[in-house]
Each structure stands twice: as structure tokens, then as C-alpha cells.
Amino acid sequence: MFKSILPLCVLLLGTPVGAQVPFFPGAPAGTEAAETTVPDEAVVLQAETAQPISGGYRLNLMAAGPMKFSTRNSSFTLPFQVAVPAPVKLSVGLVTGPGLDTTNSEIVIYVNDAELSREPLSADLNARVEIVVPENLIRPEVNRVRVQVKQASMECEITPEVWAELNPAFTYVDISPEQVDPSWINPGDDGYIDAAYVRNGAEGERSATAIVSASMRLSRHLSRTRIRNAVYATLQDVPEDADLIVTTAPIEEGFSLSDAVIMTVQQIESLTQSNFNTIVDVNGNETKALRDFGVIADGWTESTYVRTITARLPDTFLSMSSGSMTFVMNGSAQHRLSPESTMVVRINDQISASAALPPNWADRDNWTFNVPMHHMRPGLNRIELIMETPGEVCGLSSGGNMALFGDSTITFPSFGEGKRLSIFDMLSGDTVYIVMDTFSDPDITLVANMMSRLARSVDVVPDVELAAPSAWLEERNALVLSTGEEGTRSYESLFGVPQADAMRWRSAIQQRIADLESADTEIENLDTSDWAREAYAYRSVDIPQSQGGVSGLLRRSVSSLVGVTGVDLRGDDAAFLVARRASQGGTHVLLSIADVSQSEHIGEVLGTSGFFLFDGRAAHVELNDEVRPYRDYGLPLVTNMSVSNLRLVFADVVSRQFYIYLLLVVFFGTALAIITSMILPKNEK
């Protein structure tokens, strides 16, 4: 019996998730890494920042702790990733201690195991080694920079004054601008080459697939060049029943970059950002740790650090509540902050608080300050923690990196009763959409009240009903006020509004909405950041340990597991987002999948697995060529391999290969039945 069960147990537990090793924050990177002369403290990749620079972008290379060479012969391996092989400019900055005999010490730099530079160390505080790495040494995916330092001291022994440390401010690679790959851009729909659009309603699925595909490509592009390369949307050629259109057509083709275009791009960015963040539900008077929002230990080495977290407040949250937020910030090691360093809290794009950071930090020191809460609102809230310091990075923390630890907390006040309406006018074609941003349903009274206010400037007071009534719990309700257009005729009949009347007050309503949005504090622009909710993001990372990387499945959970559909994890580096569509009440939805090594595979996966989107809108995972997803995804870099992860991966495999699951069920069902028969007494009486 065991013989027959064992292989299936192995099959169940051995999942294609890359190397089956536990991975962890702050642990040795593996056998091969240990063979290199890694200092006592292990190197774990923490973060890198992509900055647009002239003619390309810059990736900072850094580690979680101080990149300190504390033995006579030690090295760091720092990986970076590029999508397309091209020459890169590598800069390695080094700071040395006063006891170092610089003339007898040297720094050796390897890129992908090829030695590129061997120089004596410099005592200059801003010393750096700059190398142009030829294209033939660059691999299309992961590349390794190994910095080896051989230290000699003026004394016979290593003393505390003998040290060298990589200067993160000057340790980076500059990567040439990446060209927009035409293969990214597929026809979104008939007649719209290089464009995609999405509709609400019945036709959503096909269009939604297109928009996911298109927006993924857009966001990949956006993360590189920040709109520089003509990513925009236009309303000029939008189909009449489309809600949103994005296109990657070059700007030279004649479309102007209107406000609407910018807004759309912002939405895409916002969408991208919100999807990758954990959304934390806050139910009352409670304290949440930043760990709950996905922050484990954020290194802070730049002059500006921005961390965005997303909190969802209940619909009873009273916006006029006078509560407060409390941040507890921890420091690590000894830091000498510039006295001008500040912390800014932005809530929903509004600066809610700013304060000077205490200059002296003990290890895991706490710091608390209050933040007024009037910028919080029901539903999703984006909270940005921004830490800034003037001047160079070394002024921020010459003794090492700052870190914001996950046990920092946010204390939310108690909530009162309250309701608010948000109106967003999504103009497309002849359809006016008024979107209720309410989570209680049915809320027809609120709509009616709102409409009566709108109707003051309109001759006809329309009958109001919810187009997507209470069945769509926790879903934004779309209220279609008037239309005579194809595709929404049923709504017209629902509301019983003559088309002539409808057209007449439609324009009045548009104007009135604009007036209300500017004048009425209770009505404001729709925040699109809640397009994705209750999401899980996963990312499979499999970087050979010889390159100092990590392996495993990265997971960012929000609430209960909701399932997966049709995910392909066969690639070396895949990312996917699993989310719950509130309106579908538990339908398993896979929003997006990306396999960096097989980008063309995306379309197939999307096309064949029947994915669909939140409320007909796009939510997606950014394709990031880098191995370090947490910056973009709000993912912790490493997570212990867990049964839950394995279960999910297994679920993915069997969801795609039905027959295997069926066979397993039959096999184990039969085995269980046979054993049951064996243990049942012949006659229990």
C-alpha cells in the first residue's frame, strides 16, 4: 500500500515551484554563496530603485544591511537584471576606514564571473570605480556583479578601523533606454491596431483580456520611462460604448496629449500601484502593523524613500472623524540622520502630516507622531510614507542604511456612522456613467437623493434605479442615466426615460456633476485605486544561488485564499495575481499572469482560461524584468515556503491538467475505500 501511495505523496508535495529550499530574510544565501568570501553578515537582496536618467535608467545595487567588507578577503554579489542585452555602465562606490592600508588593498570587480577591473582602494570618501560592461557580457535576464575587496591594514592585525564598505549611493548600473518592443503591442480590437479598450457589460470579457494585455505592456513601459515614450490614450477614436482606451501608438502619429490622456495614464499607474499593494481591511479602533501591509524591512538608502500602503475602511467610516494615526518607526544599527530629514504622510494624494525625523536613532528605536485623519475615507485609501533628506545619501546615513521595520504600526481611530457618495463621470460615447462608490446595497435612497440634487438644473427628474442592484454586493454600482446607444438599450427600458429627454438632461447632468465635484465636499472624484481588491500576488523567483539570488514562491496575501485559475509557473520567473471579484462572490479570478521568459505565452493563457476583470476594468501585474518584485508588487522579498503556497501551486497545476486531478481523486478515493473496507469489522454486532 505504501508503495502505491508514496509516489503520489511525492507528486502532491513536490511542486514545480523552483528549488525546494526554505528561504528567509537575513539567512545565508546558500552553499555556493558561502564559498565566496561573504562577510559574516549574509547578503540578501533587498531593493533596487529604477530611476529615469538621461538616456536610460539607473538601477541601484544594494543589500539589506551595510555592505561592509569586514575580513581580509571578502566579496559581495549583487545581481541585476535587464530585459535586452545592451552595454551597461557599472559604478561601484567604496568607503574605507582610516586604518586601511589602501596601497596594499585592492578592489576586484567581476561581471558574470569575468574580471573587469582590479584597482587599489582609494581613501577618498566618494571613491568609485566606473566600468562600461560590454554587451557580450550582459545576459538577457539575471547578471551578477561580484565585488571582491582584499584589505590590508597598517597594523599587523585587523582593527576596528580597518574596514571597507560599498557606498550605495555610487553603486549602480546605468542601463541604456529600452526600445518599445513592437511585439508587445497587439491589436486590441478590430480596427484599432496598437490599441485596446474595455467595455462594461456583457462584452467585457474579450475586451478585458485585451486591456489586461495592453496595460501590462504599458505598465512595463511606464516603469521604465515614465510616459516619456508616448504612452497615452485618446478619446478621439474611442468606440461609443467603450469606457477606457489605451494605446501605445507613437506620438508622431498625430494624436495630441490631452488632459484626458494624462488622466488615463495616471489611472493606469494608480491601478498598477494599488494592485501590487496589499489591501488591508480596517474594521474599527485597531492598530495594524506595517507587516500587515507587506512591509517587512524596507531599506532606505535614497534621499527620498516612498512607501505606499493601502487600507480599506468600512463604509461606515465617518470622514469628519477626528481620529489620528500613529506611526512607530524603528531604526536599525547606529544612524546619523541629517537634521533636516523629514517624514511626510500623504493620504489619498493629500499631504496629511509632516514632521522632522529625530536625528539620532538607536537600534529599533521608536518614534511616534500624530496624523490627522480627515483625509481618510470609506473604501480604499492610499497612504504614502515619504521620508526625505536633503543632500547626498551619505548625509542621510553614513553609518549604514535606514530601515523601516514591519513591526511599525498604524493606529486607526474608531469610526462613526457616515455615508459618502463619489461620482465619477466616465464619458465615452453618449453614455454617462455615474458610479456609486458605496458598499452598502441597495442604496437606492442615496442615489435618489443625489439625483434630486442633480435634477435641480434639469427639467425632468428621472426615475432612478440601480443598474447593477443589490446582487452586486460590495461592488461599485453603475448607474446609467441615459443612453440610446446600442448595448445599453436594456438600461434605457429599465429607466423608462424617453431618449429625447435623456439626451437633454444628459448634458445638463454632465455640467452639474462637474459643478458638484468642485463644490460639494461629499462628492469627489472616483478613486480608481479600488479596482482590485482582496488580491493575492505571487511571484515565483528562481535565481540560482550561485548568483546570490533567492528561490521560491513569493506571496503577498490579503485575506482568505480564493484560488487560482490557469496559471503557468513553468517559467523561471513568473508573476501572477489571484483576486476575488466581489461581485462574483467567490469566483476564482486570475487577473494576470506574466512569464518573463515567454512573454508571448501570456495571450494564450489569458485567452484560454477565460479571465475577467473587476467590474469590467483592468487590473494587472506589472511585468518586471527584475528579480526583486517587492518594490512593485508590495511583496516581501522572501517568504518561508509554506504548505499554503504548495497547495496553491498544486492547485494551479491541476486546474490546468484536469485529468491528473481526476486521477488523483479516483486513486485516493479508491485507496481510502479499500482501507476503510479493511478496517471495518466483518460484523460489528
Partner: protein, 710 residues
């Protein structure tokens, strides 16, 4: 070794469960479900037994477990929306109740006990037997027939005493304040005393009607001395072999307390009759007595069903006689016996013939009493906690008792679609696609599993029909007993009622309201489909549920439309000798018999001339002693149709004996439905169900139209 096997079982079960809780795409879910159900369907065709049967149960369980996991983790409405959450959780509870019942069914039916050979009885050492026939208000003719049938039981001479235990002629009743009632009771007592003397049995009554049937039986118990007690309800006439096939088991096992045999009903129940199902599908009781009791027997959980059982006196005395706390003294008494370590045994051979209630109202009265009594046992005796019971026995009792909560789940299923279709509450938060993928596969697995376990005794959807047709009325009964567990009263099922006209049952009107409400709701659903195209998938899914309720409600209309009953006739096929009033003697072939007379053919020519002509019929009694005894009685010629003569008995003790011989000597001829007939699969059973619904809906509506004209 058992421990090792058990550990392997645990590991396998854990893997199996883990496997079934994997989140799947809808496609994978459908594939798995269809695959498992198809495999079980294929196995079902081969009539699986032993391990194969368990495998089939495991595979259907896989689909059910997946549904339960999905339903629990994905579909419950949020508590932040109490208006949806409250009915949502009620519905969830109803579904989980159904799943629990399936699990208990599988536990009970995992194996069924095979029949043991009947032990030989040594006439010299055979135990003495007291036969109790408790009565309350049954007519004397019925009692005479039962007594006569009991007297015809084969057993060593002088070792059987038959007691007519009359609770209708107690001192309390004879001296009632109401003069008319008192006079009736005295007359009844006088009549039954005379009848008992005439038939050679003991008449016994008591002072007061304390503890209903249990008190009556205990009175008999204390007045008698036999080693064994046999209980026959007033309408339960035994076949001659009853004692020979049951008593022997007591000699084999000193701890055996009860031998229970099936109850067979010679007339159809009113639902069966009103739906025109007689002879077309197995009777409702076949499932319990044909299957469940055998499964309970394997688990050591067979219980006394109030009649057709033999009970050891010493065991009864150890538990102070029959228990009377609940109104189902039978099952309650068995709980006490099991708790004391006594055993029970089930003999699956049908050996008594009883009568079902004739009308829908009586049927509901009877079922209400059963439901209330069993729930009383649950609340008052708590068999799941009672010390002395084995785990398997606790589960067996739980299975039998929990069944009676079906009215709540059935009513919840009935009203669930209303919440969405009318009030737009999402009490089951799933997309239409997922709803179909999971719920349909669950329903399919449920039907297949039931078909596997009970297919030869219960056609698909029959359980649902019976439950639906009782649920509204039983719901009230169950609710009342839950609120006041000690307040139930023993309502005797009417045994002498006759349904003699087409009419809507006095208590059946509620099903018309249900039907029209469901119909209106379906019309509203179609309207919503037209006006809310974005919700159409969900509306279709919920509508399918509503349509199922509508089909059941249509059948319920037929069930409450009473049809006149015909006296139950038994096919006899025995030879006899007829002496006409003219003195001519003919050999005849007796074709059938009922309570009132016989039909026969006369191959040698018919000597009868006129209606009302008397004749004498002689039949050889094959079941008494040497087999040479002749039974004879006078008949009145009634009519002749196609060579078949119908004649009525001239009332006499001789006629009673002959009638009993013809009716009860051959139990194998009782069943109108041949259980060896190939059972109906789920698909064809569903087709039958739909056709039945269409017919009965038309009949029910027609009945309403006729009633309104009158």
C-alpha cells in the same frame, strides 16, 4: 495490526481531504465531478457490493466534499450584511443538514447485514410467548382479523398466549364524564371481551390511560408471564411462520433483547395512491425496512418499531418495561436496552401485513407523531450522549432521529430562491457559472449516491417528493415539539378511515398557495432575465432551483388530491372447492382475496345463477399442522365478469379464518411491486419525475377547478 491500518487510513483520508480542498478552476471542478459521477454511474450498473460499493461512495463523497468546502469558504454572505446573512446562513445550515444526513446514511449503509439462517426451535424447550395486540379505537373487525392471524401462527402447542390489550375500554373511559363517550367505551369493552372469549384469547384493559401505548403494553407485561413478548399493532396481521422465523434467535444469544421484522402495508399510502404510483415504484417503507434496518443491524442499531417484533421479557424488565416518556415508545425503549448492553437483531423477511393511513390528513398525523416522538428521544434521551451506547449505535440513532428535521431544510430550500428573485438578496454569493459547476455536480452526486445506496427500493426523486409533500405540516409539528418537548400527545393513527371520493384534502390547500407563489416567482424571474441581461446567468441558476421547487410543488398538488381507495386485494392463486346452493360442486381457482371476499374462476363451469345466491367455499389450509385441515365458509355471489366471480364472505368465525389464510399465509404475494425489477437510474428517474410532475400538476389544477365549481 489494526492500529497500523487505522494510521494508514488516517493518512489516506487526510491526503484525500487535502486533495479535495484544493481550489480549482470551474472547468477542473466540472471535469472532476463529471468524471467521478460517471465512474460511479458505471459501477452502479454493475450493482457493486463490498469494496466496490465503498469505492463508489468515496468517489461521490469527493464531489460532495468539494461542494461543502466551496460552499463554506466561498459562498457565505458577509456578516456585515445581516439582511442577507441571516437567511444565507439558514440556507447554509439546511444544506449542511442534508450533507450530514448523507454522511450518516453512508455510515449506516457502508455495509448491510446479510440474513442469518433461521435457527431451529426445539418444541420441548421453546420459550413461552405472550402476543400483545394493543388497541385504542380500532374496529372490532380489524382486531378480530389480527387476532385470528395471530392465532394461526405456527408454534409449539400451548406456548403462546394472545392478549388483546384494550385502551379504548379502560375504567377511565367507561366512567368518562361525557355520557356518550362512556357508553361507547362500555359497549366497546363488552364487545371486545366477548370477541376475545369467542376467539380464545385474553382480553385485558386497565384503570387509566396512562402513558398511552407504552402504558398499555406495560400493563400487559405485568399481567403476563411469557418468556418473550410479541407486539402486533391492531392492524398488523402476522403470517403463520412469524414465530418460527424469529424466536429461535433468542436461544442463540442470551443478550439478544429484540428481533424486529419489517412492516409491510397491504394498502398503499395516500401519496402513493394519489400519485398513481401503486405497483410502479417501491413503497415508501421499503427503503427503511428493506435497506436501512439492515444497515442499522450491521451497526448493532436496529430498533423496535412498535410492532412485528419479539422482545425478551427479562430485558424489558431490566429497563422497567416499555418507555413512555416520548410518544414513540418503541425506539425509546430500544435506546434503553442498547444502553444496558442488550442486543437487537433484524430479520428482513416480511411477515406481517398492516394498513397505511387512508387519507393524506391521517398520513400527516401519523408522520407528525413519528417526527415528534423521535425528536423527543433526541431531546429527552439524548442517545448521542447516553452512557452505555457504542459509537456506531449513537450514529445509528442520530441517523434515524435527525432525518425528522427534514421539514426545515426542505422549507428552506423552498423559500431560498425567493430571497434573490424577489428581494434581490444575495444569500448564496456565487456566480451563475460556479453555482452550476458546484451545485449541479453536488445534486448529481447526491442523486447518484442515493441511487447507489437505495436504488432498488427507492426511485430517484421519490424521497424529495415525499419530504416536500409533508414538509409544510411536519414543519409545524417539529417546531412545536422543539419548543415544548414534553407536551406531545399520542395521536392514534386512524385505521378505519376510507377515502371514498375525489377531493382536495382538508389540509392540502397550502400546497396550492405554494405552487402559485412559486409560479409567480418564476414569471418574475423571466421578467428580470429580460430586463437585467447582466444578471442573466445568476438568474438562470436561481430559476433552475425555483423550477425544481415548482416541479415538486406540482407533484404535491397531486398528492393532496385524494383519490378513492379500493380495498387492498391480494393475489392468491390457490385451489378451492365450491358448493353452490343448487348442490353442484366445482373446483375453483381463487384468484384474489380482500377483507370482504374473494374472486375466483371456475374452470369446470359456473353453477351460480343469481346475485345474492349463497355458496360454500372450501380451501385446504397448507400451513397448519399436517396440512390436511380444510377451511370453509359461506359466500354470497356478487357478480360475474369475464368468467371471474366475485363473492363476499358471510360473516362468521369460519370466514375470518379462511380470509386470514388467504390473505396472510403467503407473504411473498403481498408486494404489488416486484423488487427484483431493474431499478431506475438517475437520468431516467429524473425524466419520470418531470413527467410525473406534469401529470400531477394538471391533475391538481383540475381538482381545484372541480372543487371551485362545487
Amino acid at each position: 495490526m489494526y492500529i497500523v491500518k487505522f494510521i494508514i487510513w488516517l493518512i489516506t483520508a487526510a491526503i484525500f481531504i487535502a486533495l479535495l480542498t484544493i481550489p480549482l478552476s470551474s472547468q477542473a471542478q466540472i471535469t472532476m465531478s463529471i468524471g467521478c459521477i460517471a465512474l460511479v454511474g458505471a459501477m452502479k450498473a454493475a450493482r457493486p457490493s463490498g469494496v466496490m460499493r465503498t469505492v463508489a461512495m468515496a468517489l461521490t463523497s469527493a464531489v460532495i466534499i468539494r461542494y461543502v468546502f466551496w460552499r463554506t469558504t466561498q459562498t457565505l454572505p458577509p456578516m456585515s450584511d445581516p439582511v442577507s446573512a441571516v437567511p444565507g446562513y439558514f440556507l447554509y445550515g439546511a444544506e449542511m443538514y442534508s450533507v450530514l444526513m448523507l454522511v450518516l446514511s453512508m455510515f449506516v449503509m457502508a455495509r448491510i447485514k446479510t440474513e442469518s439462517p433461521t435457527p431451529h426451535i426445539d418444541p420441548a424447550t421453546a420459550p413461552t410467548v405472550d402476543v400483545f395486540i394493543p388497541s385504542y379505537n380500532e374496529p372490532a373487525e380489524m382486531l378480530a382479523k389480527t387476532i385470528m392471524a395471530a392465532k394461526r401462527m405456527e408454534y409449539p402447542e400451548g406456548k403462546v398466549t394472545i392478549w388483546l390489550l384494550d385502551d379504548g375500554g379502560t375504567d377511565q373511559k367507561c366512567n368518562a364524564e361525557n355520557d356518550e363517550s362512556a357508553a361507547e367505551a362500555r359497549a366497546r369493552r363488552e364487545l371486545l371481551t366477548f370477541m376475545a372469549e369467542d376467539l380464545g384469547v385474553r382480553y385485558l384493559t386497565r384503570e387509566r390511560n396512562v402513558s398511552a401505548k407504552a402504558g398499555n403494553l406495560n400493563n400487559g407485561l405485568h399481567q403476563s408471564t411469557g418468556d418473550l413478548i410479541v407486539v402486533f399493532d391492531a392492524d398488523h396481521a402476522p403470517s403463520p411462520k412469524f414465530l418460527l422465523k424469529t424466536v429461535g434467535f433468542f436461544a442463540q444469544d442470551d443478550r439478544l433483547a429484540i428481533v424486529q421484522t419489517p412492516h409491510f402495508f397491504i394498502n398503499p399510502d395516500p401519496i402513493e395512491r394519489n400519485l398513481d404510483l401503486v405497483g410502479k415504484v417501491p413503497s415508501e417503507s421499503e427503503m427503511f425496512y428493506g435497506k436501512i434496518q439492515r444497515g442499522l443491524d450491521y451497526r448493532g442499531g436496529t430498533f423496535f418499531c412498535g410492532s412485528a417484533a419479539v422482545i425478551r421479557r427479562t430485558a424489558l424488565m431490566e429497563v422497567d418495561g416499555f418507555s413512555g416518556r416520548s410518544i414513540t415508545e418503541d425506539c425509546e425503549s430500544t435506546v434503553g436496552l442498547h444502553a444496558k448492553g442488550w442486543k437487537t437483531h433484524y430479520v428482513g423477511e416480511v411477515m406481517i401485513a398492516g394498513l397505511q393511513p387512508e387519507t393524506y390528513a391521517s398520513f400527516i398525523t401519523q408522520r407528525s407523531r413519528w417526527a415528534q416522538g423521535m425528536i423527543q428521544i433526541l431531546l429527552l434521551n439524548r442517545p448521542f450522549m447516553k452512557r452505555g451506547l457504542r459509537f456506531s449505535q449513537r450514529m445509528s440513532y442520530l441517523s434515524s432521529i435527525m432525518f425528522w428535521f427534514f421539514p426545515f431544510s426542505r422549507l428552506m430550500f423552498l423559500i431560498a430562491p425567493v430571497f434573490y428573485l424577489v428581494f434581490d438578496l444575495k444569500i448564496f454569493t456565487a456566480s451563475g457559472e460556479d453555482f452550476l459547476a458546484y451545485t449541479l455536480s453536488y445534486v448529481g452526486a447526491n442523486l447518484v449516491l442515493q441511487n447507489l445506496l437505495y436504488g432498488d427500493v427507492r426511485r430517484p426523486w421519490m424521497s424529495e417528493i415525499y419530504e416536500f409533500a409533508q414538509s409544510v405540516h411536519l414543519g409545524r409539528a417539529v417546531l412545536s415539539i422543539l419548543m415544548r418537548p414534553t407536551k406531545a400527545t399520542f395521536k392514534v393513527t386512524s385505521k378505519d378511515e376510507i377515502a371514498n371520493e375525489h377531493k382536495i384534502s382538508d389540509i392540502g390547500g397550502v400546497y396550492y398557495w405554494v405552487f402559485f407563489a412559486l409560479l409567480a416567482m418564476q414569471v418574475w424571474a423571466f421578467y428580470r432575465m429580460y430586463t437585467e441581461p447582466h444578471n442573466v446567468n445568476l438568474l438562470i441558476a436561481v430559476s433552475m432551483w425555483n423550477v425544481l421547487n415548482l416541479l415538486l410543488a406540482g407533484i404535491a398538488l397531486g398528492a393532496v388530491n385524494e383519490k378513492p381507495s379500493t380495498p387492498p386485494a391480494i393475489e392468491v392463486r390457490r385451489p378451492g372447492v365450491l358448493t353452490a346452493s343448487s348442490g353442484e360442486v366445482r373446483e375453483v381457482r381463487i384468484l384474489s382475496a380482500d377483507d370482504h371476499g374473494v374472486t375466483f374462476s371456475t374452470p369446470q363451469g359456473d353453477p351460480l345463477n343469481a346475485e345474492g345466491e349463497t355458496m360454500r367455499l372450501e380451501v385446504r389450509d397448507v400451513h397448519r399442522g399436517t396440512g390436511e385441515e380444510i377451511l370453509a365458509c359461506d359466500l354470497l355471489f356478487c357478480n360475474r365478469t369475464d368468467g371471474v366471480v366475485t363473492a363476499r364472505y358471510v360473516s362468521s368465525k369460519e370466514a375470518l379464518a379462511l380470509g386470514c389464510s388467504l390473505l396472510y399465509d403467503s407473504p411473498n404475494k403481498w408486494r404489488p411491486y416486484d423488487l427484483n425489477t431493474k431499478s431506475r437510474g438517475v437520468i431516467m428517474g429524473t425524466v419520470d419525475f418531470v413527467i410525473l410532475s406534469a401529470k400531477q400538476t394538471v391533475r391538481g389544477l383540475n381538482g381545484l377547478a372541480v372543487a371551485r365549481k362545487m
